[in-house]
Structures are given as C-alpha cells and as structure tokens.
C-alpha cells in the first residue's frame, strides 16, 4: 500500500525566512510525485509534477526536488501570500492515474 507522510504538520515563518517542507513516500513503483497548494475552503491548486529522482522544478519562490525516498518543497524568502496548506501526492505504476495524498503541511507566513 502506498504511503505519503508530510512534515511538519504546521510551520510558522516570518516573511523572508526560507525553509523546506518534507514529503516522504513509500510506493512500489513511483510514476509521479505531485505538489499542490490549498487555500482554506478551496480546492487544491496544482504546483509541480516530478517524475524521476534528481528532478527539480521551480515557480517563483517555490522549488521542488525529488529523491528516491522523499521530496522537498523549498520556499525562498516567503511572503504572507504564500500562507496555505501544501499537499504532496504520489501515483504508482501499478495503479496509474490514482493519487495517494499526504495530510499536508499548513504554512503560515507572518510580517
């Protein structure tokens, strides 16, 4: 059974204070790893897909990296508008198209 564990559960940063969110996964055959951002009361918004170890993707202040066991979402010089819950998910080569989600990291960025 695929498993995704995200840490920390919650993170509070000051504006400009860089940090990383962790997503550890156990999957028999990784097909893809996905990062989403979710604002309160809204649906998840797609950020990145990573397909192989060593791959990196960037978008504004966010950078996602992937190893064979985990993924990191690095947030550089965050702003208050980066406050949200960040979700990680994986898809398996044996159960294509279905995603297994972690429970998320709730990020708060203060002035």
């Amino acid at each position: 059974e695929d498993q995704v564990t995200q840490s920390p559960e919650a993170l509070r940063l000051q504006e400009g204070e860089s940090s990383s969110l962790n997503c550890s996964y156990t999957v028999s055959g990784l097909r893809g790893l996905f990062w989403y951002r979710q604002d309160p009361g809204k649906g998840p918004e797609f950020l990145f897909t990573l397909y192989s170890a060593g791959e990196e993707k960037e978008k504004e202040r966010l950078k996602a990296t992937l190893t064979k066991k985990e993924s990191f979402l690095h947030i550089t010089a965050p702003k208050p508008e980066d406050s949200a819950t960040y979700l990680c998910a994986v898809s398996n080569t044996g159960t294509a198209s279905k995603l297994t989600f972690g429970t998320g990291t709730r990020l708060q960025v203060t002035l």
Partner: protein, 114 residues
C-alpha cells in the same frame, strides 16, 4: 487553462435525503475523480472513472454511487445522506496524455447533513 466546476459551493441537507453533487470539466479529460476531505484524514478517494459509463470504487465507496453519462460530467450521489457524510467534496480530472496523472481540482462543495 483547465477548468473544473462543481454545482454548489455550499449545501445543507437533511438525514435520509438523496443528494446529487455534479462536476463538469472542459478539457476533454478521460479520467474523473471524487474525493472527500476531512481534517486530519486528508483527501480520500470515493470513486473514479476512466471513461464514459465506466466507474471504479476508490478507498471509501460505501454510501455513495456515481454516474458518468457524458465525458465532461461526473456525478456523485449520496443515496440516503447521513451526518457522517458531512464533509468537503472535491472533484478532479486528469488526462491520459500530456501531464501524466496530474489531477486538476474543482473549488469543492462543503456539504452539511443535519
């Protein structure tokens, strides 16, 4: 841009009522999914569909059914709503080509069953 819409943002129903939640996507995606999201439990898959008139059970199908009569539309049905079905319901779609497995979500329906 991919657009997934859901019929209601907020819904309040009584125990025992039959409830329909509708989802429409405009990107000609083959796959569609229904999840529920509860605090501390994350997103849990209820049902999904790979094609018109095809459906498969997810992790928590009990108490739910689905219908996919057209490619762009996927409906979730609560046959007899119960209080433990109070939750945020999220619909998503994905393509078998292009951005493989990437799911795009609708805005969600917050359902309260009294």
């Amino acid at each position: 841009d991919v657009k997934v819409t859901q019929s209601s943002r907020y819904l309040v129903k009584r125990t025992g009522e039959k409830v329909f939640l509708e989802c429409v996507q405009d990107m000609d995606h083959e796959n569609m999914f229904w999840y529920r999201q509860d605090p501390g439990l994350g997103l849990r898959l209820i049902y999904f569909s790979y094609d018109v008139k095809m459906k498969e059970k997810g992790d928590i199908p009990e108490g739910y059914s689905v219908s996919r009569e057209k490619k762009e539309r996927f409906s979730l049905i609560l046959e007899s709503a119960s209080t433990n079905q109070t939750s945020m319901y999220l619909c998503a779609s994905s393509s078998v080509a292009g951005a493989l497995d990437t799911q795009y979500f609708g805005p969600g329906t917050r359902l309260t069953v009294l």
